[in-house]
Symmetry: D2
Amino acid sequence: MIRVAVVGATGYAGAELVRILAGHPKVKLEMLTSRQHSGKRFSDIYPSMAGVVDMFCREFEPEMLAASLDLVFLALPHKLPMEIVPSLIKRGLRIVDLSADFRFSDVELYQSHYQRHTCPELLEKSVYGLSEVYARKIKSADIVGNPGCYPTSALLPLIPLIKGGFIETNGIVVDSKSGVSGAGRVPSLTTHHCEVNESFKAYKVTDHRHNPEMDEILSKEAEKRVHVTFVPHLVPMTRGMETTIYASLGKHANQEEIREYIRHFYRGHPFVRLRPAGSSADTLHVKGTNFCDMGVHVDSMANMVVMTSAIDNLVKGAAGQAVQNMNIMFGLDETLGLMAVPFPL
Amino acid sequence: MIRVAVVGATGYAGAELVRILAGHPKVKLEMLTSRQHSGKRFSDIYPSMAGVVDMFCREFEPEMLAASLDLVFLALPHKLPMEIVPSLIKRGLRIVDLSADFRFSDVELYQSHYQRHTCPELLEKSVYGLSEVYARKIKSADIVGNPGCYPTSALLPLIPLIKGGFIETNGIVVDSKSGVSGAGRVPSLTTHHCEVNESFKAYKVTDHRHNPEMDEILSKEAEKRVHVTFVPHLVPMTRGMETTIYASLGKHANQEEIREYIRHFYRGHPFVRLRPAGSSADTLHVKGTNFCDMGVHVDSMANMVVMTSAIDNLVKGAAGQAVQNMNIMFGLDETLGLMAVPFPL
Amino acid sequence: MIRVAVVGATGYAGAELVRILAGHPKVKLEMLTSRQHSGKRFSDIYPSMAGVVDMFCREFEPEMLAASLDLVFLALPHKLPMEIVPSLIKRGLRIVDLSADFRFSDVELYQSHYQRHTCPELLEKSVYGLSEVYARKIKSADIVGNPGCYPTSALLPLIPLIKGGFIETNGIVVDSKSGVSGAGRVPSLTTHHCEVNESFKAYKVTDHRHNPEMDEILSKEAEKRVHVTFVPHLVPMTRGMETTIYASLGKHANQEEIREYIRHFYRGHPFVRLRPAGSSADTLHVKGTNFCDMGVHVDSMANMVVMTSAIDNLVKGAAGQAVQNMNIMFGLDETLGLMAVPFPL
Amino acid sequence: MIRVAVVGATGYAGAELVRILAGHPKVKLEMLTSRQHSGKRFSDIYPSMAGVVDMFCREFEPEMLAASLDLVFLALPHKLPMEIVPSLIKRGLRIVDLSADFRFSDVELYQSHYQRHTCPELLEKSVYGLSEVYARKIKSADIVGNPGCYPTSALLPLIPLIKGGFIETNGIVVDSKSGVSGAGRVPSLTTHHCEVNESFKAYKVTDHRHNPEMDEILSKEAEKRVHVTFVPHLVPMTRGMETTIYASLGKHANQEEIREYIRHFYRGHPFVRLRPAGSSADTLHVKGTNFCDMGVHVDSMANMVVMTSAIDNLVKGAAGQAVQNMNIMFGLDETLGLMAVPFPL
């Protein structure tokens, strides 16, 4: 059994980690921490869990984590993880961090969009946890920087398009739409029901911090500087993220050739599902699952490839991919604990 | 392994049965039937299931079911089940029927609210499948009439109130609210998104066919004629049912005494969860689960007991309770295949 | 023209007042105040109003209101109004207060559910603003205590039932369901989209402060002590309130007799609409309007009257009724400025 | 008074026309027709209108329209309008048609995406009713082809970008998101609440019939062949449409220069509102109104202009713009009957 702790267990991503880990056949959930709710039962905060996960939440103290753990999931706001990761690493723990603190290779890039990085030497050793693409590195990593939800939904379709030479790397457009749970559990006017309901809007247009994250990975894969134009939008729903990608065809290719390439690219990776020809991805089909569904279209009048992808932002976009990375790190089947039969609706 | 078929697999209750059965450790899902979608894969109808349940749906023919099955779930509109159950019984199959056809003891009562019953002799042998209350009879039944969603949400709180003598049996009010999935998958103006969204309304006021179903069971438990005043309402959401019950106190008792009695009444039945004192039941806490949450309140100025209950209408209100009944019929733990960790939201 | 100010203009009820008053043909909107947003344009807070209501919000100072106003609407949290009303009254202003501070006749009752009342002598002079029922007193009132949303939805159907002698006054059940806007604009976990969506639940069961408000009015109308059992519920939608009322028949009467009485009772009051026989009230039909729709049903097996009512909690339940009261106070047609053609959906 | 009829009054666009026209100070609503609901009151179909619009719906017969009408609104499915328009024109009536039948200049283009056009000679005389841009032609037109909702939301931002030379005309991306009311009132699985709720998806990717409509107008304005890559998406909400547009900068320009040009372009057209610098358009801000809100952004790293627009698909995207066109045709202020104060939420 892998002995794990979830630090920041009562935020939405943390709670989703608890859900998955509590049902994982090879995991022993040893500890939950929560600054705000320490001393309370997890099921007091999430009453759906009553009788199922009634563990108490504690205040985080690095010492506690030393003893008998194999891996720690960090589900904290940016900046906090890099303050505690060094001491965890010293104690020999492996880490999957859901914040942005360990996602970047280029410390300057991180610092220009977040803040000063306090352990750049660890950043160098961390691995970007896009499971299907970087499994080999993840396997041996001590620190996995779990990808952002938007980058996950954009990179999984874009990387094969780039590796296959199907698209021009300039002028790529990434138009993403997210359910409200992506904004977390702290109440604000943005997430206030009456302001969300019947509202659809873009936000942080061309100014979202997931943009440099995508750019860095795409540049690495394309072996040249890539910058995508990225606009996130807020959808009046709880879970789910859809991304529509537009890119100029880089060579003559039809829909079926691209589909075939992608199918081959993700062979052996069951969480990527290609929708039937002509169909697009729907958040409802991936709700509560670790799947990333994709659709491929070609606008031949415009010489443009259009791809759609759908994930559950809390699962493949956060907690699910984190557990998938844990599986990979510990040599398990990557789907273990993540293959509950999906809900029909 | 229990070999089962789902007849009517592509309606919402049928699809939910498929979801649960496909993940059940002691079940082999042998056959799915669908009149409308025969010849298609189940995952063509419910793309969330792609790669998970790709079985083909067939047209129903009683002969097919003969061979190598142990139990058949019927998820069909009322009236169809009683037409096919006799031939299934002859073939030695056990049956859980999700329609109203085998719920009533009193054939007259059935006939006055539905239609002529074509196999009253089988109705006599069938057992009402309210799992927590009738487990002993269910165990040996060949035909289980699975309860309606509204009756499930009302009977689980009401039966202990009656058995404990806490309430007067006249003047009971059952005010229920259901998500839209209860209306099934066939499109209509009632379930049209624009007519549902931002709409809350009562329907079939004091005229719903689940009313006599509740009345019959309550009369049996009270050992006298009981009629509740029942009003169902439609909530702009997909899953979930909340019921608020009002009844005059039948003897002096406070909230804690009633809670204690109920806790004892459902001891050993983990799907009934009592909310902490002062809290009421919330559909969000039971979404996707087989739980029935309950809250108890006393309005001492009015000498009135108020109870709230919440279930997922498609799970404890339909497919989940059906599988729970199968577990009981086959001597398994009643929770088997039904205890996935709930979603935090 | 009636010169008015809205104090607390940026909360939801205040903003709805601004919407109605800005389109009222006999009103001059002189001043908006907002503690939180003083110095900003109203349309900065509510961008839907850009180009329509671009007035600046100011900090409230009693002096400003002296000069050239006829009436002040107070849309503030309980307790604040009673602190400022005395000085406004001294300046000769008339007041419609949307809080609970001037709703009660019995100062003790107010104090036992809210806090010490600081101007009980003004409370005595204030009039309860249930427009259809108390128009005559409202006409000459200087202070109108605008009814709560729940009481409005319950009293309009209940008062004719009581006046007509149709029901027993003990054992009345009021089961109400409200959209989330009733909780106001201040973000909290209760109104957080992800906690509201797909959630339906009761809250403050038999413990809501609108309960004594209803009880006091009903006792007055019944000329004896009445206490209703009241349970409010939260519906995942923005606007709208539905109330289902259960009461024992007090005399032999059928649905049509009760309907006829109610129709007559509200003759000349166009905001009360009786639904066709057999139909119930739907929040979608009153969204954005000042209507109160009602349906009447009789459960003859239980000797029970069931009524349903629907209002828009922000309009008839707050700002609309407040303007209706202003119309009455100034001798205008009560519908003036409130009869925009309703939205079909 | 302008005497008008609405043909097809009980669909969503027709009903919205009725709402606006019933409140229009210069309109006399003479006749409503509905094939499906002839003989019923309009308020039987839309109970929100009870007591407000209780007119009876009739079966359409061209003769009836002859007598005493000035203008006919056609809110019918494509193909029906061109069958009846010739006879209406002969009777001297002016027409605003909400279908696609009279939107195209190029009959071949129409025919390749719809069906054979049966009165191409009338198509030649019809005017495309994008009010802000083609007011001069609309003024004297007998037949106005009212724009599609998607084209309205895309053309209003795109035309000034093109006229100002700000963008390259190849590679334009139009990513649109629509509420469900755009799909009309006829129930289907696509609009079934449980399939819409918590679902976000693209549909008819690069294959929607509004694409050639946009292309034709943009080509005319650009004076060269333009084809945009257009992807519509379905949002789980009732009303509202957001469009995000991506285009390569055609000359050096910053956000403020583009904003200034657009502001000037739409001077005197109050229904186009430019959001403050840095802000994007939100459907909630235009719900129930005839406004089109717009935001401008420049991604300078990609040399890309990004614009967002928001309309209410049933108002500016259909019935509102139709009435605006009527106002223009009859020499009235274009805002008449369309300037109700917007709802704050």
